[in-house]
Structures are given as C-alpha cells and as structure tokens.
C-alpha cells in the first residue's frame, strides 16, 4: 500500500539557520509529490509540487525540494528560516497528477518551531 513517512514530528531551528524536512514515500510507480504548509488555525497551502522533469523544484516562500528516486525521498529545504515559517508541514503523495479522485495520501506532518 502507498504510504508517506515524515520521520520528524517536531523540529526547532534558529532564525536564519537552514532547514531540511524529511519525507519518504512508498509507491510502486512514479509518484506525484507535494508539500503543503499549515499555519496555526489555517487550512493547507501548497508550497510546491513535483510531477516530472527536473528533480529539484522551487516553491513559494523560498522553499525547494528534491526528488530522489533511489532513496524514495522528497525532502523540503530552505537556506535561511524566518520566524514566519513556524508552522506544520505535510508531505503528500498523489497517485494521479494532482492527487484528484480522492487519492492524495498525507504524511503525519512535521511541526516547525523557530527560535529567535
């Protein structure tokens, strides 16, 4: 069965430090991959997506992610974290291009705290 694993439940980084959030997936075919961010009390906002092509994808707010097929990973990175990045981050796998038809599978999320 398809699954998404985010190994880190909670990460704390200092403002200005670099960030990497890990995501591993289990899926037999080429997946469609997404990172969403959820600020407290808000819905989910798409940060970036990977469908095909260049394995390094750029997203909003200065985030990027790299698809590594050999490691079944899609880790999210940011070179310098801002206090406003404190939120919960969800990795998701779609079995179709956009995760439509009800088949978007989410990881359990990683909560990011940013210290001054």
């Amino acid at each position: 069965a398809q699954s998404v694993t985010q190994p880190d439940i909670h990460i704390t980084v200092s403002e200005g430090a670099s960030l990497e959030l890990r995501c591993n997936y289990s899926y037999g075919a080429t997946p469609y991959l997404f990172w969403y961010v959820q600020s407290p009390g808000q819905g989910l906002q798409l940060l970036l997506k990977y469908f095909s092509g260049d394995t390094l994808v750029q997203g909003i707010k200065g985030f990027e992610a790299e698809f590594k097929r050999s490691q079944s990973s899609f880790n999210l990175r940011k070179p310098s974290v801002h206090w406003s990045d404190a939120a919960e981050y969800f990795c998701a796998v779609g079995l179709t291009r956009g995760g439509s038809q009800g088949n978007l599978i989410f990881g359990k999320g990683t909560k990011l705290s940013v210290k001054p």
């Binding site: 997506k49 969800f90 995760g99 439509s100 038809q101 009800g102 990881g107 359990k108």
Partner: protein, 111 residues
Amino acid sequence: NAGVTQTPKFRILKIGQSMTLQCTQDMNHNYMYWYRQDPGMGLKLIYYSVGAGITDKGEVPNGYNVSRSTTEDFPLRLELAAPSQTSVYFCASSRPKNIQYFGAGTRLSVL
C-alpha cells in the same frame, strides 16, 4: 477570491446530536473532498466527489454522509455524533488531475 469556504469554523456537539458541515467553492472545480485531521495523524480522506451527483467513500467514511447536488456545494453530514468524531475537518476542491485547494477548516468537539 473566496476559494473554498467552510462553515462553521467551530462547533461543539453533544453525543448523539447531528449536524452538517458546509463547504462551498467558487472556482468551478468538479472534484471536491472531505478530510479529517487528528493530532499527529495527518489528514485522512472521508468522502470525495468527482462531480454533481457522484460521491464515493474515502479511507474513513463511517459515521458520515455526503451529497453533491451542485458543483459548488459539498456538505458533510454527521449523524449521531460520537466523541471519536472530535477532529478538525477540511474541505478541498480541484480540477481533474490538478492541485487540491483547501478551506480553513471546521474544528468540531463532541462531548
């Protein structure tokens, strides 16, 4: 730019009561979804719809019902609310084979 709108934002129910969570989208998306989010568990799909008059079960449909009479609206019905249904509920919509857009959520407590 309303996007996906959910009402109410918060609700407290007593065990055995029923209620309807409303979801409407103004993007003319055919596909709509209901998820629940429990702490530390990510999002689980409850029901989805690929168009007016068509609905299907997701991963955790028990205790819920949906209908889709129009493209815009996709209400979620809870009958005989139970404490296990305490959660945050998210509605989403998308075009076929495209990105899902989420509402701000409804926080429900069943006491």
